[in-house]
Amino acid sequence: MSLFQRLDEIKNRTAAPERPAPAGEPAAPFRETWVPPGGREENSPFGKYILLEDSEPGGFPFPGGGREAVLADLKLVRGVGPVNEARLRKLGFSSVCDLTDHPRWGDCARRVMELADGCDVRGLRGLGAGDWDLLSYFGPEDVVFLDIETTGLWASQPLFLIGLLFKSGDGMAVRQFFARHYREEKAVLAAANEVIQRFKVIVSYNGKRFDIQYIYGRSVAHRLFYSYPHHHVDLLYHARRKFGGVLPDCRLATLEERLLNFRREGDIPGHLIPQTYHRYVRQRDPEIIRPVIEHNRLDLLAMARLFGIAGHGGPGIGEKRSVK
């Protein structure tokens, strides 16, 4: 059938007085009545959304390591490159502190020390300090893990779930902000943003390129213009560096299986998530979306548990650490 004919058919159908509702879509207008188990309806300045709360016993491993690790990188001093660093090390300079009286690098080294003493993480980051080492300026209570679920790969498509995980007492708290309809997205963005802004460190898996960009894009779409000046540790980068050649791939689920010995049962594949959500919006059957919410929760937990291991602080697989 040609396109012209199909369009004619549709035209005639819509012109007909009695139009049967398309399959799967209830004729009644949408009412926000459903609240998923474990969740509750919340209000934000931009309307209602669903908040799911959960807690897990035990904390997450916070990578230890002192601030010395940051200052051990002589390249933080302006003008010092790999060649100069090697030369200086041979002469016995092992930390930026040692350089403060150096005739040539002293001025610049003192500037680095000023940043370090003032805990200016952004300034140090700007000089090239590793974001993993810089964690030493923070404690576990500063950290929020973030993972989102969206209806596409481009920020022009709505997102519907922002999952956060942070330390709470002796355990971990999971907060999931969920939109039952595309219309609730703005409320979700605003409510989650409020929580994210309480923390200083964001930990994500590919969040530098995806999650944070996506949330920013969606906030632009809603004229909210959120920004996230947080210290951001993207575990994917670190996992790639550490396990890139060792594991078959660096997907979160792979790491979980190989490193934590945990295998998810019946997890929904990521590429099915957008269409699953669309189907849920049309049919409003909570059973459709439940696996996605669970998927998000498991991703957050996996990140938290991998936190200590995935970075270059912990032990690797098949990797011999050279001893100086």
Binding site: S2, L3, K11, Q157, P158, Y182, R218, V220, A221, H278
Partner: protein, 774 residues
Amino acid sequence: MEKLLEKITSHPQYRGQIVHVEKMPPRGPRYGQPGDPLHPLIEDVLRKRGIDRLYTHQVTALEKVRRGKSICVVTPTASGKSMCYNLPVLDSLLRNPGQTALYLFPTKSLGQDQLEGLQDFDLRLGFGVYDGDTPDGEKAALRDGANIIITNPDMLHRGIMPNHLKWHRFFSNLKYVVIDELHNYRGVFGTHVAHVIRRLRRICRNYGSDPRFILCSATIANPGEHACRLTGLPADLVDDNGAPRGPLKFVLWRPPAHTPYIREVSWLISLCVQSRYRTIAFSRARQVTERILRFTRRNIGDPRFAGRVLAYRGGYLAADRRRIEEALFKGTLLGVISTNALELGIDVGDLEVCIIAGFPGTIASTWQQAGRVGRGGKEALVIFVAVETPIDQYFLRNTGALFASPSERALIDPGNPYIMMGHVMCAAHEYPVTPDDYPLWNETFTGLLSLLEEDGDLVRSEGGYYFNGQVYPAERINIRSSSSSLVHLRDAGRGNRLVEAIDESAALSEVYPGAVYTHQGETYVVRELDLEAGAALMDRQDVDYYTMCGRDKKTEIISVDRSRDLNGHRLYTGQLKVTTRVTGYVKKHERTGQVLGGGSLDLPERVLETTGTWVVLDEEAAAQVKERGLHLMGGLHAVEHAAIGLLPLFSMCDRNDLGGLSTEHHRQTGGATVFIHDACHGGVGFSEKGYDEAEGLLEAVLEAVMSCRCQAGCPSCIFSPKCSNFNRPLDKEAAVMILHLLLGRPYSPPAAAGPVTLGGADRERLKKALRTLR
């Protein structure tokens, strides 16, 4: 110019080739004064450039834009058209530094040219070209900071609009959209662009901006209508051209019998160049420009001049093209031989002589090419060298026709569902579609939304349509019909150095193994063509022959969608497979044209699967045409041409979007058949429209053919400018008879044709005799 003409006519090689000289009177400049002065910075720049007054059309454009109108400027080439948008835009941006403007040009090189135009203003505004060639580092800076972005519709469609969230600053402040070379946006390409513009307007509305459109066009028959169809907005026409024009002589030139026109053209170029006239020549095919160049250089002989003539055409690397443009502009080049690539608005400075080697296909193009000379009131000469085709010969016979013919209409159909469908997906991907968006499109849009929802590509909820899927739809929609893959031509003798890059579709007929390929007058022989790797290896080799390939074209019916009776004949619409294959080539001697040899080729076929409409003539009717002694094949061929020429009026396409084939006997239909098909993959329903409106179309064709006063056909009835059989055979009377039969009307032969018993050939002879008697 008198001197030059005298020199030509007194040359020993001159044998009365000039058929006609049309003198076009000079036109003085007309100036105007803007109501409020321009921004002082702009006035300074203009003063420094020696411009102290503006032409009337420039002032009208400025005033209308200042009053918040969208405008469409229609003035000839080189009338200072770019001022019509630069002045109002720059004036406004300088006063409101936050505002932004978007400049759209059909090609990258035009965008580059315009960038230089803006740089000349030397104003403190951020601007730049944002296209596929822009380095990534610059892209972000332009996106976040520029006042003016210069780009092309492809980039807007594929790179900018899908990422509108990153462009929110630019879109929120967008005040002006400039679209130059409006006449280029016609047919399928133009229809795509019309949707791109509607999507742009939708995005702007979502960001709270409502830009004005400043459109510029060369002379076409329907600028206002076209502008409105393209943007969906009314635009005020600005056409009171105040730019001066020098006296122009337009010469019609008939090459002597048995002299190839290429030789004639190169003789003319060398004569002009040696007399130090700056000359541009236009030819229709890329390899022809090269052959003209070779002849010209040989004619000139003197290396001082020979090196100052170059060829210019598509395929050359961008950097090479830039160099030629610059040399031409500065005047270091005396002559350039170009394809229609130089027809568009690239500024090439003051040229004096234009030689048009063969009718370029449209009246509008002819004037665009002629407009390349005589700017700023200087005297200029245009020589139209006729080629051995019926169209060109027609213009020689009817010397007034070329000057009296109106320009063509630019047609697009924003309602075409095939083209619209992809853009509905793109729009939904950019933003969920809501009923607020419907007025930007017509009712087909809502139909398509329902259809895409049924197919699961969109999800509907509470009146909004959401994109369902993870693909990037803009990536899958190529708004130009030509294939985007390129074949790189490399010089095998010089470490596979890249010589040029041409379209894959052109590669098969131009760089087959054994082909002679000429680049800036140097001949290469193709060693191998590897389509998968997108490369052709060539060896630099001086040869004195050129090659021409032979093609085999087949039209095969895949399936019939619908069929019906048409006054006793059968009419069908359905899927067709049009196969073209390059089967072999011949080597011809460069100067004599003598065939020196050749070879057969085993190359992959090019397959076009598309929709088409075809009519099968009733057997008895076909026999009747033959009985009358008329040329059945010539009649069918003529009907095909005339129908292709008129179908655009029914389906709002360009005639280049259509193709056709006619045959006395088709294997599958078993009878005399005329096919008309869409020229793009998959088809977009143009010829299907011909099925639905066959009676109306045939009626219009009959009317056009009968009312045309030519004897054996002309461009306004049965000639086609792109017929691959060079408009042979054609039989106008047979066409009239076939059309009568198709419409179920009694046919009576024209009285002037004499006794009915005369055969076609006899009739021709009689006609000729009568003509000589008169």
